[in-house]
Symmetry: C2
Subunit: 168 residues, 2 copies
DNA sequence: AATATAGCTGGACGCTGTATAGTATGCAAT
DNA sequence: ATTGCATACTATACAGCGTCCAGCTATATT
């Protein structure tokens, strides 16, 4: 069902992802979905977290470099799903297992860069906000402009933030 | 009508701001609203831009200092309307007259700080994204925690960005 | 063999934004 | 003074939404 929901969203967009349309795709009555999901909100929560599974963990790069790679990967994933991006912010970044995993990886990389404790949690928030925010703000444009210009812009700002974070 | 919409939103939240509820408040049939507004989306656009009118232009402070003050004021305004914040991002910051004015003030302050042309437009985007993004992400928390901690966090990141921007 | 449970169905409720058609009011031009 | 027209309203209605309720059936458990 999550898979069907993601297909439907991928093919026809967020607005077309209604309980009735999803039920039709599954050849099932609309209310049958409520045997699997308490409501549409948590279904979308699941979709949001599932999308985050596409983010690549950085296999190389330590500390700030790794963070840069991770955030850039996240940015690319978000741009692939422009209409979902505002939802991440509305839900403060989603709380599923994939989101949690990303948070842990980020904290590990921050620790490598010498940032731990309260400053690390602050840095985490700044980086998440900046990345999702930039994706939300440039979503339309980036799709049109083949992402090159906004991505460069994103990376420049990201660099400034990382410089400030690691400078203590 | 815009005033009534803002009242209704202020009193009962975004979800309660329906065409029917607004019509009832105005003692009018629901569809009568469509003599004044083409659809609900542009009504909300108007509300969003109207809210931005609450942001204070910095009367003192030049360049980076002024920008810091302006963004902090914007952040405070946004926090006053948590449920609207995701909408700003979904619409790339709104395009009404108030939004336009803010953009011009920001560009002027950037110019004072020696940033003009393409870098200025990039800086503009980074600052807007960061501010709205942070507001969206901390909205719930900030209301509960009386805003002190997230605001400090916001200002720290903002400082890093401004340092990067003005360093060229 | 009896029973519980998971997954479904038909139908409905209350809500949403909005289209259509018609009506009363006030102002402009003849 | 009368005609004409735009503005703002009304009543009604449509299609769509998320979701609740009651009941059926097949499968799994004891």
């Amino acid at each position: 069902m999550l898979a069907a929901a993601r297909e439907l969203h991928g093919e026809r967009g967020l607005d077309a992802l209604t309980m009735r349309a999803l039920a039709e795709r599954l050849q099932v009555a609309p209310n049958a979905l409520y045997s699997h999901v308490p409501n549409k909100t948590t279904l979308i929560d699941d979709v949001l977290d599932n999308v985050l599974g596409e983010v690549d963990d950085p296999t190389f790069g330590t500390g700030a470099d790794g963070l840069h790679a991770l955030m850039a990967s996240t940015y690319r994933v978000l741009l692939r799903h422009p209409d979902l991006v505002p939802l991440y912010l509305a839900r403060q970044g989603a709380r599923g297992t994939n989101a949690q995993h990303l948070g842990e990886v980020m904290l590990a990389l921050l620790a490598e860069a010498g940032v731990v404790g309260a400053p690390a949690r602050e840095a985490l928030r700044v980086l998440i906000v900046y990345t999702i925010g930039f994706a939300a703000y440039t979503a339309d444009e980036a799709v049109v402009l083949s992402a090159a210009e906004p991505t460069a812009n994103f990376q420049r700002g990201l660099h400034w933030l990382l410089a400030g974070i690691t400078a203590g």
